[in-house]
Every structure is written in C-alpha cells, then in structure tokens.
C-alpha cells in the first residue's frame, strides 16, 4: 500500500506550496484516477510515489518504507513504476527492445532474464514484432505503449501514469485505456492522472485536486455526479453523468450516480414506468 500522510511540497526553499496537506491511500490492486486543472500539482504528486520527489512536510510510505530514506529508494522504485507525460522524453534506447531492457538491465539481471522480461512486457502491451524499431519511427500511440512496456519490464506492483492518453488518436487512446484496465484486472495498483474524466469509468475511485490539495475522493459515480452538479467549474463530467444531473434538476426521480449508458437507460426506464401516462 502507498500512503501519503499530510504531504506538503515546495520546489525550492521559498517557492509556493505546490502540494498542501495531501492525504491519499493507494491500496494493493486498486485503480485510482486523479484529475484536476493544469498546474494543480498532479505530476508533482505522482513523483512523490516513487521517491523522485520527497515531501517538504509529511511522509510518503510504500509498503511501510519511507521514501525519504535513500537506502530504500531502489526497492521503492522497483515496486512503483512511473510512466511520464511525454514519451519522447523517457524512451532512452536506440531500439524498442533496447529501451524496454533498460530497467531490467539496471537491476543487473542476467541477459537471459532481461530478454525474458522484454519479451513478456512487449507481449503485454501488444508490441511483438517491434523489437528492432527505432523510437523516432513510432507513432505517438506506439511510443506511449513502449514507455509503458519499459516500466512493466521491471515487474512493479504499482504503476503511476501521467496523462497517458494525452495527444492520442481515439484508437490509440482506446488501446492504452484497455491496457490499463487489463493491468488492473491482473492485480496491479494504478494511479492514473487524466484530463478527460470520461476515461476513468473503470476506476475504483476518482480523486480531484485543486490548487495542491485534494478536493474530492469518492467512487467514480458519486464523484462524477458531483462534477456534473458544477462543483468544479472547468472539469467536465462524462456526458452520461451530466445528463442524469440535468434530468434530476428537472424533477426526475433518477439516481444521478451512474456512469454507463446502459445503467442510465435503466434508471430512465424505471422512472418512466412510475409515470405510466407519459410513456410514449
């Protein structure tokens, strides 16, 4: 389990507080989505999970290990994989396989095991056959998958992804989202930073940040209902949630806490059944 306890953080001595008193828990195998406006501190928070940044105040522990203890950082980084915002700035290999091998190589595994890790990671993201491709010949979506494979090759138990679907075409976006859901099903703990809340219907929780602190932490249905009610201007709820909130405000007796179209239809249908005269 990853536990953030009263975490505050400043870049530099007299900078402003980028994080203020953040309390957050990511349990084993849990899928948490994190949303918030640009500059609210999402990336900064993410970098605290694997000791790239350590809190100015408060503590971060991974399975009870304090990230501030530099002798523990190696193990912490092995447990918590990090996929950064820009894949162009994290692919270090001259070829795809060389890049995916970077992490296992840093763990000084024997070459045979390194190759096995690489093969497995590429299969998991569906990039078999890309082994000797040069990074600059890949599409944006493929680069993103390579950067995820590079992290998976180290066999982490948690993975933090910073806007993994930004700038992707719809097909690649779907591919990345399906991959994340698949990892979750296999028991990986996931923290997924995203701009479009429509991405996270499969998450266990949605956390919303505002100016360095956590403003909302709830099940996705309830959190989206809160967004749809307009509590966080600028953060758009998924269309289904907005529709249900709108119906409710028009006096319909629907439960606004639904995210899927199927569930929404059922709610509306039940509501109509209670008012037989108006049914078409």
């Amino acid at each position: 389990m990853i536990v953030l306890d009263g975490v505050s953080f400043r870049y530099g001595e007299d900078g402003p507080d980028v994080l203020r008193g953040v309390d957050l828990r990511l349990r084993e195998g849990e899928y948490v989505a994190l949303a918030g406006h640009n500059g609210c501190g999402k990336s900064t928070l993410l970098k605290h999970l694997n000791a790239l940044l350590v809190p100015t105040e408060g503590t971060v522990t991974v399975d009870g290990l304090d990230t501030r203890d530099s002798s523990l950082q190696r193990g912490i980084r092995r447990a918590v994989g990090m996929v950064f915002q820009n894949p162009d700035h994290q692919i270090v290999g001259m070829t795809v396989e060389e890049d995916v091998a970077f992490g296992p190589g840093n763990l000084a595994l024997p070459p045979r095991e390194v190759r096995e890790c690489v093969r497995e990671a590429l299969a998991r993201v569906g990039l078999e056959g890309y082994e000797s491709r040069a990074p600059h010949t890949l599409s944006g979506g493929e680069k993103r998958l390579v950067s995820i494979a590079g992290v998976l090759a180290m066999k982490p138990r948690f993975i933090a992804l910073d806007e993994p679907t930004a700038y992707l075409d719809p097909v690649s976006r779907r591919r990345v989202l399906d991959l994340i859901v698949g990892l979750h099903r296999q028991g990986m703990g996931i923290l997924h930073v995203t701009h479009s809340i429509g991405n996270i219907v499969d998450a266990d929780r949605l956390v919303v940040m505002e100016r360095g602190s956590i403003a909302l932490d709830d099940r996705p249905e309830a959190a989206c209902a809160a967004l749809a009610s307009g509590r966080f201007p600028g953060l758009e709820a998924p269309p289904v949630a907005t529709l249900m909130a709108e119906l409710k405000s028009l006096g319909w007796g629907v439960n606004p806490n639904v995210l899927s179209i199927r569930e929404a239809c059922r709610e509306i249908d039940a509501c109509l059944a209670r008012r037989p005269g108006e049914r078409p």
Binding site: I91, M94, F102
Partner: protein, 264 residues
C-alpha cells in the same frame, strides 16, 4: 531525413553480421593502420580483402555505393589538393599560373583517395553489419580496462547510446522549426549579417531550450527506472565463438602478409 541513411545498420544473418562486434572493431582498427603503411602490393591485397568482405556481408553493393557517394566530392577535393600541391617533376609542361601538375602529385593523390575510400568502406562495413546497441556494448567492453583509471566506461556507453537515440529526433525538430519559421516568412539567405544571425538564433535557441528540458526529464525518467552507479547488464552478453577466434587469427595472418609485402 534522407542524408542520414549513410552507413546505417542493415539487419542480416551474414557471417559478418554474426561476428562478435569487438572482433569487428578491432579488425577495423588494425586494417585501418595497415592502410596508411601500405605498399602498392599491400594496397591490392587490402582492396581484394575489402571486396571479399563486401561479398561476405551479403549487403547489396548498391547500398554500399549509396553510402560512399556523398563523399565523392570530398574525395575529388582531396585528389586535387594533392595533385596541385605536391612538389615534383611535371610530366607535361602544363604550369598554368601557380598550379603545377606533377607525376608525384598524381601518385600521391591516387594513394590518398584510395586510403580514404578504404577507410570509409571499412567503417561502413562495420556499421552496416553491426547493430548500434552491439556497437556501443562492444566499445564499452573494449574500453573497460580504463575503469582502473576511474573512467566511467558504463556511463560513457549510456551517453553514446543516448546521443545516437536522440540524433534523429533532434534533426526532425530542427526541420520542423525551420519549416515553421519559413512559413512565418523568415529567410536566412537574405538580409544583412545582423538579420541573419538573428534568424539563426531564433532557430538555435528554442532547439537548445528544448534539449535542456528534455535532458532534465530524461534524467528523471532514467532515475525512475533504476539507473544508478553500479553493475548493469543488457539484452546480450558478448561471447567469443570459434568463428570469432578464427577471424582474429585471419586478421593477424593478413597483417603479417601485408607487412612482409612491404619489406619485399
């Protein structure tokens, strides 16, 4: 990005491809040194060897020629310099102005151009039959004795591969910036010196800023993936096979032959 096809790795299964990259690098160094000592007989031997190796590499000769073609102008220049500026006796009284074509100049020019193409061919044969990662791994192994002098050979190898990784990206970015500037009406072929420097700076500054930002991100990403001082491994382990020892023995024998042919 056409110009960068030069000497690029062509994957394959030829005997030359399969040779240990350390053996290949070592052979290029030895043969390169021989090229500078070569007598006429040795030059013929080396040329024949290169032709044989080209056949053995199963590279299409056209690919090799494509790699050499951009260097023709440079070779021609080398030839002319030696032709005109070597002292000696003129075969024909053709002394036009300060330039004099001499018999020695002709000979010297020929030798220099041959040396040039022989060296480049060796390099191109090496890089076209050896993957860049193998090349870097081999360099690291060859330099590893320097560890005693506290030279961080492992970090050096990582740096070289990073440079090779980002070269194409850098060129692409430069191209993009240039196009963007042109679209906005910048033109560095016109205007005074100040104007030209300004336009060039408008290209270089964002490139450097971009590179610096990337370097920061990159360092962070490498740290996150466990990069640190200490032992590292990779995909492959370099291991010498019988054929590698045979190749070394052959290069040693060939060198002996060339040296002897020089003494005769």
């Amino acid at each position: 990005m056409k110009p960068f096809r030069f000497g690029l790795f062509v994957p394959g299964e030829s005997p030359l491809h399969r040779l240990d990259p350390r053996v290949k690098i070592l052979s290029v160094v030895v043969l390169g040194v021989l090229t500078f000592q070569a007598s006429a007989e040795a030059a013929i031997l080396i040329t024949l060897l290169l032709a044989g190796l080209t056949g053995l590499s199963r590279l299409r000769p056209r690919h090799l020629l494509d790699a050499l073609r951009p260097l023709m102008v440079f070779a021609a220049l080398l030839f002319l310099i030696h032709l005109f500026f070597t002292d000696g006796e003129a075969p024909v009284s053709l002394s036009a102005g300060p330039f004099r074509i001499t018999r020695e100049g002709l000979r010297q020019g020929g030798i220099v151009v041959w040396q040039f193409f022989a060296l480049v061919s060796m390099g191109v044969l090496l890089t076209m039959t050896t993957g860049p990662s193998d090349l870097v791994a081999a360099l690291e192994k060859i330099l590893s004795p320097l560890k005693i002098l506290r030279v961080p050979t492992q970090d050096l190898a990582v740096m070289v591969s990073l440079a090779l990784r980002f070269l194409p990206t850098f060129l692409e970015e430069m191209e993009k910036l240039k196009t963007a500037r042109l679209a906005r009406g910048a033109d560095w072929r016109r205007g005074g010196a100040v104007h030209r420097v300004k336009t060039a700076a408008s290209l270089v500054v964002p490139l450097l800023l971009g590179a610096a930002r990337r370097a920061d991100d990159l360092a962070e990403a490498m740290e996150a993936r466990g990069y640190a001082r200490g032992p590292r491994t990779g995909l492959r382990e370099l291991r010498m096979a019988g054929s590698d020892y045979a190749a070394l023995a052959f290069v040693a024998g060939f060198s002996g032959l060339v040296l002897v042919s020089g003494l005769l």
